[in-house]
Symmetry: C2
Subunit: 271 residues, 2 copies
């Protein structure tokens, strides 16, 4: 059993003896998590099929932007990956998070698909790319440079240890990048620095951590937030959801305040 | 001509009107630069040939360590890349620097080769990997995990804009990772903060920047160091070499002091 868990997590037993979440707390789907992760990044690794040594998979560094759910690149005809794609359009783009001390705890996504050169008249791709990479504006019109897009066929998502799946192209295309993603680090910092009592109240009122002593917010998205909760029984994760999914970062403060009122009311009633 | 330069640099004219280096100043070879870059990193992107969708190049995130010049991985049989490699050993590993604001200014290396599973008796690979990734020690012996190495066949080096080449496997294998690489950021910070006069003297004495007003050290290696020099004519790069290549970071201080004495003597004589 232990071995089975290890295998599924690609080698690590998540060190979670206790989990405090109520059942079925709404959370982002893997498609939504993958789309959010890709939308937050602007560099990645492109895998193409090499011309020399022929047939080898060739990984190269690339900058990209998303147009809808399709990655857009601006690449020179002289670059290895462009020559490879011109001969065989099959490709994949790996995008990963950074920041966690353990590199394998960071999320990553591989978008597998067919790359295609875009016509020079495609202004939308150009604009998407140059909005993300304004420094490329001065060579975007050079003759040997073209915009390319990747038509995604399949998506591999690995959200860190023990959270991974294949996502089909339609689910990825239909998923919405989380509107709180950019603001999340700032919200977490604020809540953990200034609102320890509120976090403890959320844990006491809305999770199974009835004996919560302290809680730290570890993630927030439009559906809710994750905490690590310390109790007398031990430390474990807990998730709390908003009544309705938020539509933007500006909704976070009123939603968290409303949730605190509700938590306090519930805790007062229980006493 | 401009277009040619652009093309060779994959899209950017290095913004260098002036260069102040004397000719033929010793510098690391591309093989040495590539070997150094790879030795400084411990994560990368692995490209393999996918089983599903079959034949597509598949990029995945990976942790590695170098044993000699061969990357070592510790991967689960259940992971996509391991299944791919078990069916077809052709692979490449992309390793890149981070830190520069312009992502395409960072150096990167693609090691192309054949991956092979190592026997469980290979203690050297195990030790190399676990020295770099001690957190992996507790699952290194699990049944579904194996150490693999990549036998490098060819190396693509891109040192930023306009510095790129293919390096053959023998040159890469024979190259030495620069012994100053880990210490370089610290040395640069120290020199630029505390030794502005010395840097200016190096520029005046050992480069063509006879009218140097100010110099900043931008890189250091066992062969010498690079500066950006400001003169009345404009700003440009300059390289200065040590009399003999250094063998370790502890040689940097005496070498820089000796070079300053030599610079001061030369400048005094010229007056």
């Amino acid at each position: 059993m232990l071995r089975g868990m290890v295998a599924n997590a690609h080698g690590r037993v998540p060190e979670v003896a206790l989990t405090f979440s109520e059942s079925d707390v709404p959370a982002p789907s893997h498609a939504e998590r993958a789309r959010t992760l890709v939308a937050q990044q602007s560099t990645g690794s492109l895998a193409t099929l090499a011309l020399d040594p022929i047939g080898y998979p060739y990984a190269s560094f690339i900058t990209f932007s998303l147009l809808g759910h399709a990655p857009i690149f601006l690449i020179s005809r002289l670059a290895e990956h462009t020559r490879n794609l011109s001969a065989d359009p099959r490709a994949s783009l790996l995008v990963h998070e950074t920041g966690k001390a353990d590199p394998l705890a960071n999320g990553r996504v591989t978008l597998v698909g067919q790359a295609g050169k875009l016509p020079r008249t495609d202004r939308a791709a150009r604009e998407a790319y140059l909005t993300t990479h304004p420094g490329a504006a001065y060579y975007a019109d050079y003759e040997d440079f073209d915009f390319w897009s990747l038509q995604v066929k399949a998506v591999r998502y690995i959200g860190g240890y023990g959270r991974m799946s294949w996502i089909d192209a339609d689910a990825f295309a239909g998923a919405v990048a989380d509107p709180l993603a950019s603001a999340a680090p700032r919200i977490l910092e604020h809540m953990n620095q200034d609102h320890a009592a509120a976090l403890k109240s959320y844990a006491l009122a809305f999770t199974q951590a009835f004996d919560a002593e302290q809680a730290t917010m570890t993630a927030i998205d439009r559906h809710g937030f994750d905490m690590t909760v310390r109790t007398r029984r031990g430390v474990g994760p807990a998730r709390v959801s908003f009544d309705v999914p938020l539509t933007g970062a500006e909704d976070a403060r009123p939603a968290l305040v409303a949730l605190l009122r509700a938590a306090e009311a519930k805790l007062a009633k229980a006493q």
